[in-house]
């Protein structure tokens, strides 16, 4: 820990991430969401409320745009001006994309949001001073700010309701930013158990709350470093790579027959969530 340390490790400190080789040693948590399976039923969002101690803000604050759902289901319509949306709606579960080169991380003045060794975009509530720069710089607007002190707000957590709070997750006070953590408390628990047994976390051993609830298994979550994990296989099959701002299918003439894509890849934030395109039958 010294100047000599700095000089000796200069190369490491100048290491670019994730563009350079081998950015993650043991784990790189990633997700893939099959929009063809997603029915927009909202089970995941409610599960997220239950797991992560999210406050229910009520109608007025919801109206003021101060809702606190870490995960939201967006519903889009076709824009071809037909009388009826006769191919249904398009649902999109949206949560923190845990970008590898997260725009939010660089701008936080207090260093409250960082990149973990597991490739998560961490948000440390007690370090947060509430400058909201991270949210300003988030292209997906998936960071949620505690505009009020919800723990002491009437009818958010009446005494009985506090019993339900997850003790593994901090209840956030006013003035801090929060967002989806990929259920880091579950990840840490799983890693802890695996370490005790001297192994790595197995695929499927840990589930995020949304994944666990999802009735159609639209959400897959796992370790991208481990090639045999479902997520890694899905990413590989769809030829979506973490550190790429475009996909093979975009570069091909006429596109390929793969469904995988990430939102706003061109912004080079390298999100950790891959979506699989929704499919509609062409014969009807």
């Amino acid at each position: 820990m010294s100047v000599s340390n700095m000089l000796e490790n200069w190369k490491n400190f100048r290491h670019m991430h994730p563009v350079d080789d081998a950015p993650h040693a043991e784990y790189k948590w990633a997700m893939s969401i099959d929009l063809d399976a997603c029915t927009g039923c909202n089970a995941c969002t409610v599960a997220c409320y239950a797991e992560n101690n999210l406050p229910v803000v009520g109608k007025d604050k919801f109206n003021a745009g101060q809702q606190m759902h870490w995960m939201r289901i967006e519903r889009y319509w076709d824009e071809d001006k037909r009388d009826f949306p006769d191919q249904g709606a398009q649902f999109l579960p949206m949560m923190c994309q845990h970008c590898e080169a997260a725009p939010c991380e660089t701008v936080c003045p207090a260093g409250a949001t960082n990149h973990t060794a597991d490739g998560l975009n961490s948000q440390v509530y007690n370090r947060c001073i509430g400058s909201r720069y991270c949210s300003a710089n988030c292209p997906f607007k998936v960071r949620y700010f505690n505009w009020y002190d919800y723990p002491t707000t009437d009818n958010v957590w009446p005494a009985e309701m506090t019993e339900q709070l997850n003790p593994d997750v901090t209840v956030r006070g006013k003035g801090v930013m929060e967002k989806c953590t990929f259920c880091v408390q579950r990840l840490e628990r799983a890693k802890n158990n695996a370490r005790t047994e001297g192994r790595l976390v197995k695929d499927g051993e840990v589930q995020t709350a949304c994944q666990q609830a999802c009735p159609t298994n639209a959400i897959s979550f796992g370790n991208l470093v481990e090639p045999e994990s479902k997520v890694a296989k899905q990413w590989a099959h769809q030829q979506v790579e973490l550190a790429r701002e475009g996909q093979a299918k975009d570069e091909q003439e006429g596109g390929s027959k793969l469904r995988g894509y990430r939102i706003f890849e061109e912004l080079r934030a390298y999100p950790s969530v891959m979506y699989l395109e929704r499919v509609r039958e062409s014969a009807i």
Partner: protein, 212 residues
């Protein structure tokens, strides 16, 4: 004039020194003697008597029966430490379990108090000695697994790193700062991974390890 001049030079010096110092090495945080407050417990539990070292020589000397400890493993009472985030306070039955067959000390004031609680079937309202801010999550299990089971450190040494030399205390008292910098100072060190000590690794430095 010279006084002011020297003041300025002093200030500049301090600034320069602080910068160099800060850039070079973090302020060292004391790891001992930083005693926490004395806490009055409902029963002055003698940690030294239970966990203190056992000296056979003292056994022979009937005049000083209280000096020898019993070398009880920390985890005999704080039984969850190897399995859970929290180490656990032993339930009253655990105390009674031994003490009901120890008539020799049955009439001492502390044991009498203990049995009063037992007779009333009430938990003893122990006061917390090692408090952490509410949003910090220290995982006992991880540390015990790592240092006691994987690396093979004596349990009292492993526990003692944070809790101090409990085996010499009666009522436990905080000895370490338990501040974040203090935690980090250890996490930045390389520790042997197993008993052979050939491979080392340092503690994780992700914020989410402790703050979730």
């Amino acid at each position: 004039m010279h006084r002011l001049l020297s003041l300025f030079i002093l200030l500049a010096g301090i600034f320069a020194n602080a910068s160099v110092h800060a850039a070079d090495a973090p302020p060292s945080i004391t790891t001992a003697d930083d005693l926490g407050p004395v806490i009055e417990q409902p029963i002055e539990f003698p940690h030294n008597r239970h966990a203190g070292l056992h000296n056979p020589a003292d056994d022979a000397d009937p005049s000083k029966p209280a000096t020898g400890g019993m070398e009880i493993n920390c985890m005999y009472c704080h039984t969850y430490a190897r399995r859970s985030m929290v180490s656990g306070i032993p339930p009253l039955r655990k105390c009674i379990g031994c003490h009901q067959s120890l008539p020799s000390v049955r009439e001492t004031p502390r044991i009498k108090k203990l049995f009063e609680y037992w007779d009333a079937q009430k938990a003893i309202p122990w006061k917390k000695v090692h408090d952490l801010p509410d949003f910090v999550r220290f995982n006992h299990e991880r540390h015990i697994q790592r240092f006691v089971f994987a690396q093979g450190k004596p349990v009292q040494e492993a526990c003692g790193y944070c809790h101090g030399d409990v085996k010499t205390m009666t009522v436990a008292r905080r000895q370490k700062p338990l501040s974040m910098g203090w935690c980090v100072s250890c996490h930045e060190k390389d520790h042997p991974v197993d008993a052979t000590g050939t491979k080392t690794s340092h503690g994780p430095n992700d914020c989410w390890q402790c703050h979730k």
